[in-house]
Structures are given as C-alpha cells and as structure tokens.
C-alpha cells in the first residue's frame, strides 16, 4: 500500500505552510530520517524527514506552493516491492492538483491507517481541519472581485480567509464574516499560544485604518525608477505585526542611563574563568547580562511581568525574555525562558544557539513565540538611544543603546564613566508610568551592581 506523506504541522496553531523546497525527486529512494523537504511557515523553515523508507513515487505539491493545508498529502511513497501500479489504489496518485481543487475533506480518508508523515512535533499536530483552506494553494488567490474589494477596503488579508464559495473561492459573505469576527493578522493568530497556555486571540482589534493604496503610491514614482522586491512571508508578518502593535498598543517611553563600569569588570572576571575548551566553555556578553538583569527586574517588579488580554491581565510567574536577532531580510525574537533562574553561562550559550539558528531561519515556532518582554540592542551599531516597538503580546520592550565613555557628575565633580542609555517602551494598558519606572529602576540596579543578580 503506497504511503501518503502528509503536510506536517510545525506548531499547534499552524494551518498551512509553504512547501519551500523538495530535497528529493520522484524516483529517489529515501531512508527513514532523510530530509525530504523544507516547509516554511510565518517565520520558520523546518525540514521534513521521512518516517518510512521507500521510493518517492509521486510529488503531489510542487515546490514553492504556498498555503498547503496541514495534513494534505504532499507526496506518495512506495514501499519495497511495490511498483507504480500500486498508485492506482490511492486517490492521491493524481498529479499535483490545480489551486482550485475542492476542499480535501476528511470524507475520503486517504487510507485506513494514514501514514505518520514526517512531523517534527507529531504530538502537537492539530486535528485535521476540514475547512477548505485551498485559498491560493498554488500562489493564485481565488476570490470574487467584490470580496477582493471588500478585503482591501477593510484592510484584511484575503489569504487569511477561508473561502466558502465554489472550490474554496472567497466570496463577499466570507469577508463580511471575517470583518465581523475581527480576523487578526496571521501573526496574531500564531501568537495565540504561549507556553502551552492558550490565550484568547485578539478579537477586539480596532477598526483598521486602510493604508495608502498601492496605486496612489506608485503614481508618485516614475515607473522604471525603482525595482519591486516582492514581500516574503517574514516581511509580511513584520509589517502586519508591527502595524498592529503600533495601532493597538498605547506605547509610552521611559529612558535612563546606566553606568556599566561594574558590569564590565565583572564580565571580564567571569570570562577569564571559562575553561579553554570543552562543553563548559562560555563567553558572556554584555547582552547576556542585560537579559539576566531584565529577568531579575521582572521578578522584583512582578506586576510589570504581564500581558494584556481583553478578559484580564495575565501575570506571568517566570521571566521569559525575548531577544531581537537581526537576520538577513528581517529579524527573529527568540525567547530565553525562565531567565531568572538560569546562570549567565546558560543564558549565554542558549542565546548563541538560538541566534545562530535564527540566522539560518531554523527556529521552531515555540522558540520565538510567547514571552512577556524583549530586548532590542542596537548598541553594537553605535546607536545611542532609540524607542522600540512592542512585540505583541509583550507588554514592554527594552531598547538598549551603546555603552560609551561619557563625562558624568559624581559628588559635584566630573568623572569619566561607561554609560549606556536604555529606553523602555511600555504597553500602558498593562504597565502604567510609575510601574514602568519601577521596572527600569530595578533593571538599572542590577546592571550597576551586577553582584545583586546573585541574590
């Protein structure tokens, strides 16, 4: 019996993804554990491994196909001794379907014992969702002209809407329902889980103000005087998320200067203690110490370790701190969880691993989702100070500037000190001015007296 390889779910909330790349071709023999394809979701690219061994008989979904629904067959594997004629017995032997294929509903189960497709997180795979998510499976969006216009006017992404028209076509009714239920941009939906805790999706998002339409923008530039770089998934998500953040989160900003001399000295002494080689090697950066200091500050000011939801403020117990990592074409914010209980060397090594994999776009969604605050450090770029945009569902973000020698006044005399300006952006719904100030002051305390982080 040929085995159908199904589209894996990379996270519990994943409904579809892009089949970025096939690493095998039809006729290739694969062993269990071989990487056969790469799947791209909002942010991450994950490898799909073969679970069974056999010959790739048929590739059903072409490379580069977007919005491939979870659990949709993507390829067919022939086991040893089977030949192509066995394909006749499986419904999926037909060639890669056009995008307008009707919803693959579970009314015709692929086989009594669906092949356990290579799913990195099989245990978190959601139940097959029968909703026709065929929208734009092959890059083409099926939507009525009226639905397109309504979506444009309502400033919502058609790709996020499940079409109920013929062959999954998005019709007026679908857009109206989506507008009514306040369909959140894709990213917000992906954020809906955090550490296994399900948080209500933002349903009360304020009415979106339509952005300046493309035609108007294009009219302002002479054609040929620019090139158009198509958005990739990450660019779209960044645009959606940060637009949502800035338009739904009431930001305010608090800045103060921290003296780094004691921290730099401590860092030097600590790093000198690292073994020269072996598994316990560490090299602590200023940023690692900032992560730890912010984690400790959140424990000291627990009311600031919080998330806004419509039904109430979530007060978190642990300090899960996101750290913005710039990568080619965008950024990731992997999260260091329980940073308050981790040692500096643990934080440092974990951060190196996360940042390294982020640059290769190899983070799993659970590694960058959740958290309560984050750190954006542009000090290494020489930036003195800046205001960062809160990364929903966080309630704050710390923008860290460069450590530099500055004249400071100490006891009415001028002396030279290494100073760093930090600006905390706060979500006023959760963190009021005084609370934010308290958090930032606690942070400053840990930075200036790093030994207190040990208490």
């Amino acid at each position: 019996m040929p085995i159908e390889i199904l589209m894996p779910a990379l996270s519990p909330t994943m409904e579809d993804g892009k089949l970025a790349k096939w690493m095998v071709k039809e006729g290739d023999t694969v062993q269990s554990g071989d990487v056969i394809a790469e799947i791209e979701t909002d942010k991450a690219t994950m490898e799909v491994e073969a679970v069974d061994e056999g010959v790739i008989a048929k590739i059903l979904i072409g490379e580069g196909t977007e919005h491939v629904a979870v659990n949709k067959p993507i390829a067919v594997l022939l086991e040893e001794g089977e030949d192509a004629s066995a394909l006749e017995s499986t419904g999926s032997a037909s060639p890669a379907p056009p995008a307008a294929e009707p919803p693959a509903a579970p009314s015709t189960p692929p086989s009594p014992d669906p092949a356990p497709a290579a799913a990195p997180q099989a245990e978190t795979r959601p139940a097959p969702e029968p909703a026709p998510k065929s929208n734009g499976q092959a890059g083409r969006m099926f939507a009525s002209p009226l639905a397109r216009r309504l979506a444009q006017q309502g400033n919502i992404d058609l790709a996020q809407i499940t079409g109920t028209g013929p062959h999954g076509r998005v019709v007026k009714h679908d857009v109206e329902e989506a507008l009514k239920s306040g369909v959140a941009p894709a990213a917000a939906a992906a954020e809906a889980t955090s550490g296994g805790q399900v948080m209500p999706a933002r349903t009360s998002s304020t009415t979106a103000v339509p952005a300046m339409p493309d035609e108007e923008i294009l009219a302002l530039y002479e054609s040929g005087s620019y090139e158009v770089v198509p958005h990739d998934n990450m660019r779209r998500i960044i645009a959606e998320r940060l637009t949502m953040a800035k338009s739904t989160i009431p930001h305010f900003y608090l800045s103060l200067d921290c003296r780094l001399d004691a921290l730099l000295a401590a860092r030097q002494r600590l790093n000198a203690m690292s073994p020269a080689e072996g598994p316990n090697v560490f090299k602590i950066s200023v940023n690692d110490m900032i992560i730890k200091a912010l984690a400790m500050a959140l424990q000291k000011v627990p009311h600031a370790n919080a998330t806004w939801t419509d039904q109430g403020i979530l007060r978190h117990r642990s300090s899960d701190v996101g750290v913005a990592v710039a990568i080619d074409g965008g950024l990731f914010t992997p999260v260091i969880r329980h940073a308050e209980v981790k040692s500096l060397s643990e934080i440092s090594n974990e951060m190196k691993d996360l940042a390294g994999r982020a640059r290769k776009r190899r983070l799993a969604p659970h590694e960058y989702q959740g958290g309560t605050t984050s750190i954006s450090n542009l000090g290494m770029m020489g930036i003195k100070s800046f205001d960062a945009v809160i990364n929903p569902p966080h309630s704050s973000i710390l923008a860290v500037g460069a450590g530099e020698k500055r004249p400071v006044i100490n006891n009415d005399s001028i002396e030279i000190a290494t100073m760093m300006t930090c600006t905390l952006s706060c979500d006023h719904r959760v963190v009021d001015g005084a609370l934010g100030a308290e958090l930032l002051d606690a942070f400053k305390g840990f930075i200036e007296e790093p030994v207190t982080m040990l208490v």
Binding site: P102, P103, P145, T164, V171, K172
Partner: protein, 468 residues
C-alpha cells in the same frame, strides 16, 4: 431497495419536484415522484409555458399590424382564438411528454395519484379512481405540491364569467371587455395578451402602481406603455363586488379616496396572488407547521418535522418556477451531503414578466437599496439610443442598474423593453460571481446587440456612458 422503498419521495411533479428528483437520481439516490395531474406541474401545463405560447401569438399579431413600417404589406389580419389556444396546448403537451421522458431516462418511478403522509416516512398513494395505489416508504419526503390562485370571499371564480389563470388560458371566446384584478406578473401578462388581441382591458391594482414588486421607475414606465396601448389602469383601487349577469359582470370598484365606480365587462380575470396547496396531504397530522397558506421551512427547506421538506410555491415566495427548481436541487444536495451547498439567496432570483414591453429584474430596487442603508450609484440607458433596438423597431425601454457606491457591488438591475427577459441572466451571473462595476465595464459586449445597453447602463452609473 424494493419498488416501494426510496431514499427520497417527491410529492409533486412540477418544476420543483421533477428537478429535485433528477438531481437526486444524479447523486445516486433512489427517488420517486408522485403526481396527481400531469408532470411538469402548473409551469408546463397551466403557467409559464402555455402563456408564453399565447404571448408569442399576440406579439406576432402586433407586429403584423406594424408590417407597413417594415416595408411589408399584410391585409385581412385576423385570428382564430381556438387555434391560438390549440397551439398553446400543443406546446404544453410536448413539454409534459418531455418531462415524462426525463423521468424514464433517470429511472425515476412516477406514481400517478394523490399522496398523503402517513407518518414514519410512509406516503400513501391513491389512484385517480380513488382506490389505494401503493404505500411508499422514504427516508426523506419532499413536498412540492405547488400553489393555486388565491381567492377572496367576494372574489370567487366561477370558471365561466370570472376566470382564474386556468380559464384565461383556454378561452372559448374572445371577450370584448375584460377586467383584470391584480397587476402582478400573471395579471399583467393576461392583460397584455388580451389587449393586444383587441379587448378593452381594465387593470385594477390595490397598490399604488402596477407590477408592485418591481423598481418604481420601471413600474411607472410599464404603466405608461400599457396606457399608450389603450389599457385602462386603476391603481389604489379594489374590487368591492362582482355581480354576475347572463353574459357579463357588473363590477363595483372602490377607489383609495372611498369613491365607488361601476363598470360592466364580459369577463373578469382574478390574479390576486396564489396560495399553497397544503390541504389533504396529511401535513397537519404529521405536525408540519403551516404559516398563512404556506409550509414553514428553514434555509435548507426543512420543515419542523424531521425527514419532511418543502420546496417551491408551497414553501412560499417568490412564486417562480426557477426558484422552485433551484430550491429542489439545494434541498436534495443538502440531503445527500454534497459539500459547499449554500442556501438560496432570494435576492439572486430573477423576476420576469412577459408582457409587451417585457419587464425583468434581479436584486434590490433602488428604493430597497437605499432603505437597506446603501449609498447608491444608479445607471440608466434607454432603448432609444441603442442601434439594435432601433433596427428592431423596439425603441421603448430602459435598462437601469443600481450599485453600492462604496464597494461597487451590483445591488440590482431593472429592465423594461424588448427581450429583457433574455438579457437579465447577464446581471444574474454578475451577481452570483460577485462582480463589481469594474468587471462589468471590462466585459466586451457584442455589437450590435441589445446587451450593449447593459454595458452602457453600468458605465452611466459611473459617469462614463458613451452613447447618450
């Protein structure tokens, strides 16, 4: 499956019932039809089809009188009402036979008899001779028994002087004067037929305009056109009393201001709406909810009783054959579990009246659209400015389109003039596919056709009309 046990039993072989049965057969369900009179129902036998045959006669008759205009000479133009009726009946018979063939082709057994629900999915069938014919057992029963002319206590037809559509369709003589009560599609079509053949026709309408469900502007144009043909139209007027004489009827009319008027006519045609055939089927005993003469259903044609459905005229307005057929298909597909079935959107059901000039519409009228809160853009294009219309010698008419100013949704289209009943489907497709004004503007309409006016009307709504 035995010969008397079915997945679906359809009661009524009209355009709702027989189409539902064919769809069921296509989906592999076992289905039977129970029909007490003739396959095809009122539509084929006493409604849509035979009246179109009659109206074709009156249309040709009218054109013959205009022969000179086209450079032809005809003399001694006469008609033989018996022959006219005979042709109309022949057309019906041909189509009814066609439906019988379709039943055979789809292997659908047809029981000639009257059905009665016996509970537990049993339908008892009584033959035309009154003897029990068969009991059939069905998992699902679709009631598609249609409707008949509505009557009022003071407006009782007698089949001789006071007609319903049935007698009006097979006149034994040509009345010299005629009163048509009700100016809906049925009343107006008969008024048009008899007026064109030379009768003095008076139309009484209780509402303030003829064809009251149509767009007000179209109603107004229709009334003007009818009056120009010599029809007498009394709106805001009701019939108080009918006094039948030997070979004429004295009618007392009551105007809106309370004033009375009497007139004497050879014949009266009652066209004051229809009422569902809900009696003697066993619906009450089965517990089916009947509301004002019609079976109450949900959006999937389900009655209150599980396993019993109702479609078409018996299930309420709009009372149109194509609505019944579509409802039948949706009902069966829902039963069969076909995916992606959507409930009937009544605002996408086109309405057609085959009088001269014809009237057709789909969607919201201008007034309804505004009342529903839409800001509207309205386009109009007259027949006078269309090349094909002028060549045909049909320069009376208008095509009107109503758009939502914000979204460009085609909210409604309203037409009056030659062949508009054949044109309206274009806007029907546009609405079903949810096109906006942009797609309609980008569509290339062939020249020279009447359909070009549909394009121009859209352009006019957006200030881009070309030929006026």
């Amino acid at each position: 499956m035995s010969d008397t046990s079915f997945d679906i039993a359809v009661i009524g072989g009209g355009p709702g019932g027989y189409v539902a049965a064919i769809r069921a057969a296509q989906l592999g369900l076992s289905v039977c039809v129970i029909e007490r009179e003739h396959m095809g129902g009122i539509c084929l036998n006493w409604g849509c089809i035979p009246t179109k045959a009659l109206l074709r006669t009156s249309e040709i008759f009218h054109l013959m009188h205009r022969a000179d205009e086209f450079g032809l000479s005809v003399s001694d133009i006469r008609f033989d009402i018996q022959k006219v009726v005979k042709r109309s009946r022949k057309v019906s018979a041909k189509l009814s036979g066609g439906v019988a063939y379709l039943m055979k082709k789809n292997k659908i057994p047809v029981f000639d008899g009257t059905a009665r629900l016996k509970g537990n999915g049993v339908v008892a069938i009584t033959g035309k001779d009154g003897a029990a014919l068969a009991d059939v057992q069905a998992k699902h029963i679709i009631v598609a028994t249609g409707a008949r002319a509505r009557t009022l206590p003071n407006l009782e037809p007698d089949g001789k002087l006071v007609w319903t559509y049935k007698e009006a369709m097979v006149p034994d003589m040509m009345p010299k004067s005629l009163l048509v009560v009700g100016s809906g599609a049925i009343g107006i079509e008969f008024a048009s037929f008899y007026r064109t053949l030379g009768a003095d026709v008076t139309v009484v309408e209780i509402m303030d305009r003829v064809l009251p469900v149509e767009d007000e502007e179209i109603s107004g144009l229709a009334q003007k056109a009818f009056e120009k043909q010599g029809m007498k139209i009394l709106t805001g007027t009701s019939v108080e009393q009918l006094e039948k004489g030997e070979n004429a009827v004295a009618v007392t009319l009551k105007k809106g201001d309370g004033a009375s008027e009497t007139l004497t006519v050879d014949r009266v045609i009652l066209a004051i709406g229809i009422t569902g055939n809900v009696e003697d089927i066993g619906l009450e005993e089965a517990g089916v909810n009947i509301d004002r003469g019609h079976i109450a259903i949900d959006e999937w044609s389900r009655t209150d009783v599980e396993g019993i459905y109702a479609i078409g005229d018996v299930a309420g307005p709009p009372w149109l054959a194509h609505k019944a057929s579509h409802e039948g298909v949706l009902c069966v597909e829902k039963i069969a579990g076909v995916e992606g079935v959507h409930p009937l959107n009544t605002s996408n059901v086109p309405g057609c009246t085959y009088c001269a000039p014809q009237v057709a519409s789909v969607g919201l009228t201008e007034k309804n659209a505004i009342e529903a809160g839409h800001e509207v853009k309205v386009g109009r294009f007259p027949y006078q400015a269309n090349g094909k219309a002028i060549a045909l010698g049909e320069t009376d008419g208008l095509i009107k389109t109503v758009f939502d100013a914000k979204t460009g949704e085609l909210l409604g289209a309203h037409m009056i003039g030659a062949e508009v009943t054949e044109l309206i489907q274009g806007y029907g497709i546009a609405r079903t596919l949810e096109t906006t004004e942009a797609d309609l503007m980008h569509t290339i309409f062939p020249h020279p056709t009447l359909s070009e006016m549909m394009h121009e009307s859209v352009l006019d709504a957006y200030g881009r009309v070309m030929h006026i």
